[in-house]
């Protein structure tokens, strides 16, 4: 029996080592590697008609902010349409959006009926897609606040016919507000400034993050739009784009601010949805990924690790517990060796799926001296994420077993606190 235990621990350590090496390479790439893919300047000769979809459900506190920004975008007004899809809001969202639409002809509002609302972002985006006329379809969440020239920066990459989608960088707007917003900001720095950039540089699989990004309309229609059955519709679409033979580019210089969740409850609800959705996407795409003829081996490996990342907090803890168990029932040197190893990976895995050194280097590259000092608090997020991922995993197993895959979409609340931080860098040093 003991050898089985040791074998399981060895396998877990091998998996964790793969992630550790992956993030080590990403961090060094983001720091030093200069031979990545070319970055394009916005090109005035290539400015196709674009549609910007903004799904909104009860977003009265933030919808005005993004619409105000939408009319300030520097992309030619005759070539851009802003479509707000009001998902049966019961607050003032609809009225605010209509007010903007009356004054600015590039803005349109689509209303969904009360009975149709609250069925998730995918359904709303598909509705928007039906009304969009653009060649490129962008989507931005209602709580986001983009740079004025973000559309030019993102659109420039579609000049390459192999590019099916693009993703810009997400930065937290309300970072100084609470401990949770600071944590989210750290995760975003690691996830975008290091992880996504390195994956783009190394020609792996940069991910579409669900917002601050866009697709070639023809590709989106070919893929059948967003899948309403998927909780992580962004991860699902990412893999469908790659499996169709297209690539996604990450554009670090196209920055957009988001209003991050401010309470632990909202953090839990959002991460639970991401974790469960990601695991759901893993079950759906793992086999097609392995079989795909359109992907290179390195892309398959990266895709495989990306799909399984939400299982990692569980595996780290499992390895830790099994290491301890192994140590307690045998006193061999091998057992002692095993009991040490999970701790290394615990060191590396703290934080939300990016090791502490990756996030630290991201903050360093952004010259965020004070943010660097907050890295130790990622330990809190790690333990919180272990619980969230465990619940998501067991709920997914139960739903697969019972055949009842219903999930009530938990919308992330936005209170508009981000408005206080526009045009200021205070608290974000």
């Amino acid at each position: 029996m003991i050898w089985i235990l040791n074998l399981i621990i060895a396998l877990l350590i091998a998996v964790m080592s793969a992630y550790l090496v992956r993030h080590y390479i990403f961090t060094l790439t983001a720091l030093y590697y200069r031979s990545g893919q070319p970055h394009f300047f916005p090109n005035r000769n290539y400015q196709p008609i674009v549609s910007v979809l903004i799904p909104a459900r009860n977003e009265e506190k933030v919808i005005g902010r993004i619409l105000q920004r939408a009319i300030e975008l520097t992309y030619p007004k005759e070539k851009i349409e802003i479509i707000v899809i009001d998902d049966a809001s019961t607050d003032q969202t609809s009225e605010i959006a209509e007010r903007f639409a009356k004054e600015h002809k590039q803005i349109r509002v689509i209303h969904r009926k009360v009975g149709e609302g609250g069925k998730g972002k995918s359904v709303v985006l598909n509705e928007g897609l039906k009304h969009a006329n653009g060649e490129i379809i962008f989507c931005f969440d209602a709580d986001y606040y983009p740079q004025r020239d973000i559309i030019e920066k993102l659109t420039a990459y579609f000049i390459d016919p192999k590019v099916g989608a693009v993703q810009g960088r997400v930065t937290v707007l309300n970072e100084p507000n609470t401990l949770v917003t600071r944590l989210v900001a750290l995760e975003r720095i690691g996830g975008y400034r290091v992880d996504q950039l390195a994956r783009d540089d190394l020609r792996l699989m940069p991910q579409f993050g669900g917002t601050v990004g866009g697709f070639r309309r023809s590709l989106l229609e070919f893929l059948g739009g967003w899948d309403p059955n998927m909780l992580a519709e962004d991860t699902d679409l990412t893999f469908r784009v790659y499996l169709a033979g297209y690539k996604i580019r990450y554009i670090n210089e196209a920055e957009c601010y988001e209003e991050a969740v401010e309470t632990w409850q909202s953090y839990k609800d959002q991460r639970y949805r991401w974790a469960r959705g990601h695991m759901q996407a893993a079950l759906k795409h793992l086999w097609p990924l392995v079989k795909s003829q359109n992907l290179k081996l390195r892309e398959k490996i990266d895709g495989f690790l990306l799909l399984n990342i939400y299982f990692m907090p569980l595996l780290v803890v499992l390895a830790w517990v099994l290491g301890a168990l192994s140590f307690s029932i045998q006193v061999s040197d091998l057992a002692k060796f095993y009991s040490f190893l999970p701790s290394i990976f615990l060191f590396s895995a703290v934080g939300n799926f990016a090791p502490f050194f990756e996030i630290g280097i991201g903050a360093y590259l952004d010259e965020r001296e004070r943010t660097c000092r907050l890295i130790p608090i990622l330990l809190i997020a790690f333990f919180f994420n272990v619980l969230i991922c465990a619940k998501a995993f067991f709920d997914l197993c139960i739903s697969k077993f019972t055949g009842n895959d219903r999930y009530k979409w938990a919308k992330t609340p936005h209170n508009g606190n981000g408005n206080n931080f526009i045009n200021t860098n205070e608290g974000r040093e």
């Binding site: 720091l31 300047f41 590259l365 890295i375 130790p376």
Partner: protein, 140 residues
């Protein structure tokens, strides 16, 4: 689609300071030899090895003054030894009761000094870089 795409500079990247990394490796090697002789405590040495590896990989090759990196490296090792000694003294006093607590929590306790010291060093380097950039801008 008429004109070819223009290429713009990639996001900011560093140039690794190989000399700093080489000097750092030498210091770490000597430090580990000395500590191994003095302490003879595998768990403590193991934590110090992890800290030193992280420091060598992600601090020494960065831009910034060498003296600052060496000071933070030494400070980290002193901190690690102190943490280790405190843990050992707990072990001596509480004996078997502490054994299991130590077994499950020692790595977390290590985390409590490794990551903060490393992140403080990084924050310091970031501050130095910012200052340097500002002074260059002022000169211009």
């Amino acid at each position: 689609m008429s004109s070819p795409p223009c290429y713009c500079p990639i996001p900011y990247k560093e140039t690794p300071k190989y000399w700093h990394a080489a000097i750092g490796s030498g210091i770490v090697f000597i430090l580990m030899l000395v500590l191994h002789h003095i302490l003879d405590e595998p768990k403590l040495i193991f934590s110090l090895v992890i800290f030193n590896l992280v420091f060598l990989s992600f601090t020494f090759p960065l831009n910034g003054p060498l003296w600052c990196k060496i000071v933070w490296l030494l400070l980290g090792n002193v901190m690690g030894v102190l943490f280790g000694l405190i843990r050992l003294s707990f072990g001596l006093v509480l004996k078997a009761d502490f054994y299991w607590v130590d077994f499950f929590l020692s790595h977390l306790i290590d985390f409590l000094w490794i990551v903060p010291i490393w992140s403080l060093a990084l924050s310091f380097l970031s501050m130095m870089k910012k200052r340097k950039n500002k002074s260059i801008e002022n000169l211009k």
